[in-house]
Symmetry: C2
Subunit: 231 residues, 2 copies
Amino acid sequence: MTEQSAAAPPPAAAELPTPPPEAVVDLLGVLAYGELTAFERLAADAGLAPTLSDKAALGGMAVAEFGQFLRLRERLRGLGVDPESAMQPFVSAVDAFHDSTAPSNWLEGLVKAYVGDGIATDFYREVAAFVDPDTRALVLDVLEDTGHASFAVAKVQAAIAADPPVQGRLALWARRLMGEALSQAYRVAGEHAALAMLIVGGIGDLTEVGRLMARLADAHSRRLALLGLSA
Amino acid sequence: MTEQSAAAPPPAAAELPTPPPEAVVDLLGVLAYGELTAFERLAADAGLAPTLSDKAALGGMAVAEFGQFLRLRERLRGLGVDPESAMQPFVSAVDAFHDSTAPSNWLEGLVKAYVGDGIATDFYREVAAFVDPDTRALVLDVLEDTGHASFAVAKVQAAIAADPPVQGRLALWARRLMGEALSQAYRVAGEHAALAMLIVGGIGDLTEVGRLMARLADAHSRRLALLGLSA
């Protein structure tokens, strides 16, 4: 940002009009429900863990996600918003994503959590730039990795090293996850005009929306490479 | 205790020989694995919750159980014991119980947690009388109800009031839970001589073992009555 030419400064976050509260409520609501389901999903993954130590590690991460849910719920209440009403509009899309991508084993669960949380986190970080500073600080804070990423990367790398054919199956799985995630993201954007306008309005023009999509895709590819799942 | 006659004083816990460490390790190990699976089970029940508020309530209880697991694991480590080794001998019995009693709906999950945790808690409290004071204090503390009991009772009572035929189905379910729990408890006692000897040795004679069983059965009946599931 500091090296942008003075001739065409991009709109800085501080200069933007205060976003409509509806968009902030939507953002906090979808994040809160996302954390609540992340808790459930990681706890379910704990049930697939091959060792008691892995089970306890996943349990600890699930508990951390629940803590983030509590913080978002507290913030919604602080804004005078009923948390359930804020989450409810996102239940069917989030649940549809999880129902269509239920992991059938421990490694699929790890890849899903790492790849899925990664792209969601990148996306929310970008959106956070367009909301008020207090909301932004909270959103960036709850998106902090709770230790799951390095755990998942280490386990998946080790599994591929031990049994190379696993690589192809998990690569296919990662592609399917991305497809389902995009499909539900478009659905949410279509159903939540305030949230969609916040993003497009915050970015300023559609070329920038394209660049945002490219940044998300790049980060996704880097994650796949780290897992050892690149094509 | 204070009103016992001086002629035949029962052995007070403080006068008993230090129990064999194996029994203490067994007790902490089975409790730790029980808390870890309680966490998973309550998190899974959260997935069956009819409202977001119920989901969040169950999630909070699951998180509390995980906290108890962490304390028991810490204690095992403090005794120089590997927590996984201490839990491992109880995995198959605890898992067999849960596999044979997977709730098929929200109410079955609530009844299972309330009835199952109730009898387990009563039992562990009795056993705690026979171990060293530090272990006893920790065991009694982690057995404190995390709020699940009153939540379950209120929800089950309301469900029966709204739909009376539910009562008969849940009463049958509660009976099945008790049968499966007893069957796994006998298995654990048969496989863990140190734990079995701790109980029988601590109690002193088999008549008292019978009284302990009667106390557990009484408490179980009171819980069923509170739920509205008495015959």
